[in-house]
């Protein structure tokens, strides 16, 4: 009996290879992300306090907007050329294959944005020592976004206006990610402000938000792969 993880690794490898060979998708998402996060400070002027206050929201909204079009296309190519059909007739469990695809999508879609975020954070006056926390929130919240996006993309397969459909499904589901994510990064800022003002010990208000976001991620990790698999099975029927 060969491991059921082997096909999962094969899918991850294939998707990463494809993405690297045609980096257009990654670059378009990244450039969109950079555009939003540089245009907002330019438009708002140079009030550092104001910028720092809205930075978490802007960064999160930019991540969501930049990743949405790519999530929408997560399965379309595989659906058209019959790769999804072969996944369905594979002895490997479809939900596992979908989890592999989702984790790879995180690497391809979210990771470049997370890596670009520190540079952009500086424009918003986010000091360098906060970055670890901010990156943690973006990485975790980004996983939530991909898990939601995969379900939405699978559910909208076969519909002609799949872009609109995906957006409509993703929007309400990703509200909690936005709320906890923004609150979390804001909390990091206040944590640091208070730590600087008083004794130096961090109060850790951001930890609570991180745990909520983590709980959400875990729920979605369990929920999203089987839902995605079922939606794809339905679309291939």
């Amino acid at each position: 009996m060969r491991g059921m993880f082997q096909p999962c690794f094969a899918i991850m490898l294939a998707d990463i290879r494809s993405a690297l060979r045609y980096p257009g998708d990654i670059l378009s998402g990244l450039s969109f992300f950079i555009m939003i996060t540089t245009l907002v400070p330019l438009g708002l002027g140079s009030d550092q306090g104001e910028l720092a206050r809205i930075a978490p929201a802007i960064i999160w909204i930019a991540v969501m907007l930049a990743s949405l079009p790519q999530m929408d296309r997560l399965f379309t190519r595989h659906a058209k050329n019959g790769v999804l059909e072969q996944m369905l007739v594979s002895p490997a469990p479809m939900a596992m294959l979908m989890l592999a695809k989702i984790l790879t999508a995180w690497v391809i879609i979210i990771l470049p944005l997370v890596l670009a975020a520190p540079v952009l954070g500086l424009m918003f006056g986010l000091p360098f020592h906060m970055l670890a926390g901010v990156l943690g929130f973006l990485a975790m919240g980004g996983l939530c976004l991909v898990l939601i996006g995969a379900m939405a993309a699978a559910l909208s397969l076969g519909s002609r206006q799949s872009g609109i459909f995906t957006a409509i499904i993703v929007l309400p589901l990703s509200m909690p990610v936005l709320i906890f994510g923004v609150a979390g990064i804001s909390a990091i800022q206040t944590d640091h402000a208070m730590a600087g003002a008083s004794t130096g010990a961090s109060t850790g208000a951001s930890t609570g938000h991180m745990m909520l976001l983590g709980a959400l991620t875990l729920v979605l990790l369990v929920l999203s792969p089987p839902v995605t698999a079922a939606a794809i099975r339905f679309s291939e029927e």
Partner: protein, 230 residues
């Protein structure tokens, strides 16, 4: 996860039929395409699935691959019935559909490697080269899938069968394999299928009109009484 006893060929019991279909009915788009079908296929047999466009050939093959629900009856492949565990049943089949399942952004070798691992086959680089050689496309090994012609892509898809051929217990479901192929490729494919059946493999091939192989059974869809075949 416990290993399935069916997986290993040595545990394979050849006492039963490779494919057994009892009272099968299938519908598509509100139309009844297959009714009260009984069918037996044994090891080493080749069946030709014939019918006009829209007569239900693809529906039938996809039904056996459990991609489309059957409306009535049951079937068993190597004794594994259609309601059994998904992965146990999928280990009994190889499906080559209409679509070639090539990964456009990968080269031929990498695309085949993924397909092989989805088929639960452990293959080496040499096996891939040998498979491509069998379909006469060794020169394409490192070409991008999206640069190939329709016929070349079909050849790549069919070379999955060469990779799968050692597992002779798996029922091949091949949907219109001769489309887009030139004469050379058709004869290579015929050789492959003949050899597979000679070694105890079983295949169902759909098509309309001329069939370049001599099948052991023919199932014609679209004509009303279907009765028993074989």
């Amino acid at each position: 996860m416990t290993p399935s006893p069916i997986h290993h060929p040595s545990v394979q019991s050849d006492t039963g039929n490779r494919l057994r279909i009892d009272d099968l009915a299938m519908m598509r788009g509100g139309m009844s395409l297959i009714e009260a079908l009984h069918l037996r296929l044994d090891a080493g047999q080749l069946m030709f699935l014939r019918g006009a466009n829209g007569s239900g050939k693809t529906t039938f093959l996809r039904g056996l691959a459990r991609l489309i629900p059957i409306t009535q009856g049951q079937f068993a492949i190597n004794g594994i019935i259609n309601t059994a565990d998904q992965s146990a049943l999928m280990r009994q089949i190889i499906l080559i559909g209409h679509r070639n399942a090539g990964l456009e952004h990968l080269n031929v070798t990498d695309s085949l490697r993924l397909m092989a691992s989805l088929m639960d086959m452990d293959i080496s680089q040499q096996q891939i080269i040998a498979a491509l050689d069998h379909m006469g496309i060794t020169a394409l090994a490192h070409r991008q899938m999206n640069q190939l012609s329709a016929g070349q892509q079909r050849r790549v898809a069919l070379s999955r069968l060469v990779l799968a051929a050692p597992q002779t217990h798996r029922l091949w479901l091949i949907d219109e394999p001769f489309n887009a192929l030139d004469d050379a490729a058709i004869s290579q494919l015929c050789d492959l299928i003949t050899t597979y059946c000679h070694h105890g493999g079983t295949a169902i091939i759909s098509g309309h009109g001329h069939m370049p192989l001599r099948p052991d059974a023919t199932l014609t869809l679209g004509t009303k009484p279907q009765g028993v075949v074989t």
